[in-house]
Symmetry: C2
Subunit: 610 residues, 2 copies
């Protein structure tokens, strides 16, 4: 695996595509192909222990390695079959890669699932450096530079101080991790396979983390956990208020809460994947603007009042050390760029993932959470806005509401007066209703006529399911969803909360389409992202009138688009450039300054005719 | 002084030279001219309070400012005379700069003395930023970028965290210090004149510091002090031995000693110039390789034994903060590059200062200290070596020796048997003999015949000054130099020490000239630098045979060439690039591996015939 000098270059021709690529002398063929986005079977990530990465080499062949003898028959070897992971790019080569079923590989080779070439910007190189002697008095740092064949190599001071000892301890055989000319790590021996990255989405409610191998592009583990800041307030406004009230100390408290939450996530991810967190060298972070301000401990106080001014816009490159993240101290932490105080790096990551910004066709992107952010546009012109939807979609402020976690009712159907059909996340006994369940339930009640246009839960004999409607607190009607473990009701107040939330989204979409100059029928595709994950049912969304009456097939439910976008930036540095350009192209529209917004909003609280 | 947007460009034509320069809109004309290397009279550094920087402007004139009315007559104003510091480059201009006597300006405008354009790489800009409002929702960081007219501006995290508060405290009027796209400081109000830099030469014995204004190029203060590491050993070998013996703790001790010495120097310099050390934004550091390793706390242990391997070669860019220097935390600390374990950034700085590396003619550069470093070459080919001269030239290991500080005898003449004529640094009563005095004394004794070719101090009746020769310790002869305050003797042992020292230099020069393929008569100029400062007397050097018999006028005594070179790098970033290229061009020759070196050395201990 050593790669002492980058000098000669060879042409690698791939059949049947006929692509020609330029390879540096001595690269590992498997990793070379993966880096260039080819789908190649593998279960061991290039360690020579699964025998799946076979390729057919035309022309000059090297004698088979031990591993190739194990996994390939003599006939196959004679035909020219070899394992890509056992081959070096040390000559011009023509080779065929067997076509494999892409979906079966999707879990293993995430880079391909995301349709992105693996160019994370960080790399590891195992070096055998020549020993010093009377005829070779090169200084230690020059020995590294010349060993790598580069003119410029910058060692951060703490690493520079380790150079003489590590070189001599390892007898001049060590692994160097670098990002361009900057050295990130030095380790004795060969650790070149241990190159990992982390994509993080800091949600107001939930932190999501994705651990990926940056040498194969594989996703190794996914975990999510509650944002510990929740104990300081459910939404961004209450967290900013905390900073207002407590000043420096409040900011520090919220900053440390999210950092400690991410560190917990890192420990879980590394435990699951059985890797050392010191081998995480790159981290990309998406989140709404307030979350990214708090993550970097930059005061977000100006965001919550007009004219809503954030400090940050462009992406930041920081180090794990200065943020006290438990990764390699010099891991590059890339904080994704935002557009405004309410349209953040999470939305930009989502848009990046959909490719809206590169499409000729007109798309609508809606991310639904405590705030709903809306983007409409194409490669020519993009407009974005944000609207406060309130906590209903997150299951908060709903009597039996909860987050979309195991035990939550995520889907409900009401058919012909029979018992409501429930889907519960993780199966088991229902504990409450999450956002998607709430949307389904209100949509279904509207369908059967138990809720009217104005959102009143009707309490009249003769209506279907009327036996489930009782009078609850303050004489307000309520609907019994289930009585499996304990009774779970939908209250009149819950319906009002949902009306506020859906009205915010609906009016935002209406105004921004008008502002862009587009009618709903001009929209080619609608991306629905957000806290719901993939639980949301498009039919119910349309039945509530939250979106204009788009044909069902135009609506794509994205799940955590922000996390996917953060992964793209993790796997390929060019995506970080794309997202930065996107931020500079997109135009922010301040909904609250729109003259007739409140009229539009009030109208949007009604439900459409059934 | 504000400079809100860098947009339009104008042509500035300078008469009588006829130079045309391109200026950005709104630059200060005085600073613009200084930056471009023009010599322009000034005593106030462009504050409008000395009236010296008058220039004659042809064409369109602005109404005179108050300051111009004070310092210029109505006739002068009518003729087109204006003060450069009161003018902006806000239109195409043709102007004449009065010729001034360069030497009278030398002290004031050091940049010109060094014949270098003022381009320190760091700058300060006073900004009036527009206030946010409903029609201007730009994020704080974008406001800065657009105010400066740049696409990219990187705030280090601690500064980023101050942005929202500083902006609002200052009502959006503040001074930004930057190095390219990197922000180094942010201050409320206008501090654009407070931009300072420091050049440091870390000698084994002495630390020298130079404080310069980076907005005018003026040298504001010079100070030197003992290197506090001296208490751990007089020479580099004993300091490296300390690291060998004490390990990590020894390295830390030596590192902290030199840092604390530099911090003392900084306090003295800032006190003398009455400036705030937080306004020092750039520091350049020269020194021998061991000193630069210890300064950066990088283990120099491999330097003191064959094959003499240092860790460092190329220049380093560090921050004042990570080295705990008492300057602006983000001040850029540029550690000058070295060639080998014994030819360091001090020598490279000296060579840079002489221009040897850019000359067609062949030059010899000799820096004399505890080690003597020798460079021979021209723009085509350069060779360097180092030879251990021992401590005699520094006044150490000499019975009445001392450093070249007040009280040291720096020059001695013996004429016709009269009382020796002494020159004492700082006048006053002689306390001992420094290196240049020792060289003079031995040369003079050799001239009068009291020392023979082999270096024996003769004790024979009839010789001149024989009455001053007595027998000292162990019956060895000694020469009474003076008895002013207390008797000061030169001992036989002192002469032996000098012979070792001069022999090392002499043999080094001989071998390296041979190796380069040059004879002494091929050398066009000899630069003599080092601890002697400007005290050394060329005649005495030649009389001892330390250098080949060059004509006197070919020998240039340089003083602290390293400090001058460090100042060049401080004032102009291109010089840092030059010095880095120099290091890569120059070839190191390991004298100790030269087969017949010890024979040459032994021969070199003799003195030439008188």
């Amino acid at each position: 695996m050593e790669k002492p000098l980058k000098t000669r270059k060879y042409t690698i021709t791939i059949l049947p595509q006929g692509d020609t690529l330029e390879a540096e002398d001595g690269d590992n063929l498997f990793r070379f192909l993966v880096r260039h986005g080819y789908i190649i079977a593998s279960a061991c990530g290039g360690m020579g222990t699964c025998g799946k990465c076979h390729v057919l080499i035309h022309g000059k062949l090297m004698p088979p390695t031990e591993s190739e003898r194990v996994y390939l028959s003599q006939t196959e070897l004679d035909q020219g079959w070899r394992l890509a992971c056992q081959q070096r790019t040390d000559r011009h080569m023509i080779l065929e890669i067997p076509q494999i079923n892409e979906t079966t590989q999707a879990k293993e080779l995430l880079a391909h699932e995301l349709h992105v070439a693996l160019k994370p910007g960080v790399e590891k190189i195992y070096l055998h450096l020549p020993l010093p002697g009377k005829a070779d008095q090169r200084p230690d740092t020059v020995r590294f530079q010349e060993g790598l064949g580069v003119d410029d190599l910058t060692f951060p001071l703490p690493l520079l101080r380790k150079v003489p000892h590590l070189l001599r301890e390892s007898e001049f055989e060590l692994t160097l991790t670098n990002e361009g000319s900057k050295v990130l790590d030095l380790e004795t021996g060969n650790t070149s396979q241990s190159l990992y990255g982390l994509a993080i989405d800091i949600g107001t409610t939930t932190l999501a983390g994705y651990l990926l191998s940056l040498s194969t592009g594989q996703e190794l583990a996914v975990r999510s956990q509650m944002n510990p800041q929740k104990s300081f307030g459910a939404d961004v406004i209450s967290r900013i208020k905390r900073v207002h009230d407590q000043g420096e100390a409040g900011l520090k408290e919220l900053h440390e809460a999210v950092v400690s939450g991410i560190n917990t996530l890192i420990r879980q991810l590394c435990g699951a994947a059985k890797i050392n967190a010191d081998h995480i060298y790159k981290i990309t972070v998406a989140g709404n603007p307030t979350m990214l301000h708090l993550f970097t401990a930059v005061d977000p106080s100006q965001i919550d009042h007009s004219p809503y001014i954030p400090v940050l816009r462009d992406g930041l490159v920081l180090s794990a050390e200065e943020l006290r993240l438990e990764a390699s101290p010099r891991a590059q932490v890339y904080v994704l760029p935002a557009v405004s105080g309410y349209v953040g790096g999470d939305i930009m990551a989502g848009v990046l993932f959909t490719g809206l910004h590169q499409s000729d066709k007109l798309s609508l992107f809606v991310d639904i959470g405590t705030n709903a952010e809306i983007v409409v546009g194409n490669r020519e012109k993009m407009l974005t806005c944000s609207t406060p939807a309130g906590p209903a979609f997150e299951g908060a402020a709903i009597k039996y509401g909860m987050n979309a976690i195991p035990g939550a009712i995520s889907h409900i159907s009401l058919n012909n007066g029979s018992e409501p059909e429930l889907e519960v996340i993780g199966g088991g006994i229902p504990q409450g209703i999450c956002g998607s369940g709430l949307i389904d339930l209100v949509a279904e009640l509207r369908k059967v006529g138990l809720i009217n246009k104005r959102g009143n839960l009707l309490h009249q004999a003769g209506l279907p399911y009327i036996e489930r409607v009782t009078l609850g607190e303050r004489g307000q009607p309520q609907f019994l969803v289930t009585n499996a473990d304990r009774p779970i009701y939908l209250t009149q107040q819950d319906i009002r909360e949902l009306q506020l939330a859906k009205g915010a989204v609906q009016s935002g979409v209406e105004v921004i389409l008008r502002e862009w100059g587009a009618a709903p029928e001009d929209i080619d595709v609608v991306y629905l992202a957000g806290a719901f994950g993939s639980y949301i049912r498009r039919e119910s969304v349309l039945r509530l009138g939250m979106l204009p009456p788009f044909p069902l097939e135009k609506i794509k439910v994205m799940g955590n688009a922000a996390g996917q976008g953060a992964k793209l930036c993790l796997l390929n540095t060019e995506k970080s450039i794309d997202i930065q350009e996107l931020v500079q192209q997109i135009e922010y529209f301040e909904l609250s300054y729109y003259k007739t917004f409140s009229d539009v909003f009030v109208q949007s609280m009604y439900f459409p005719e059934v």
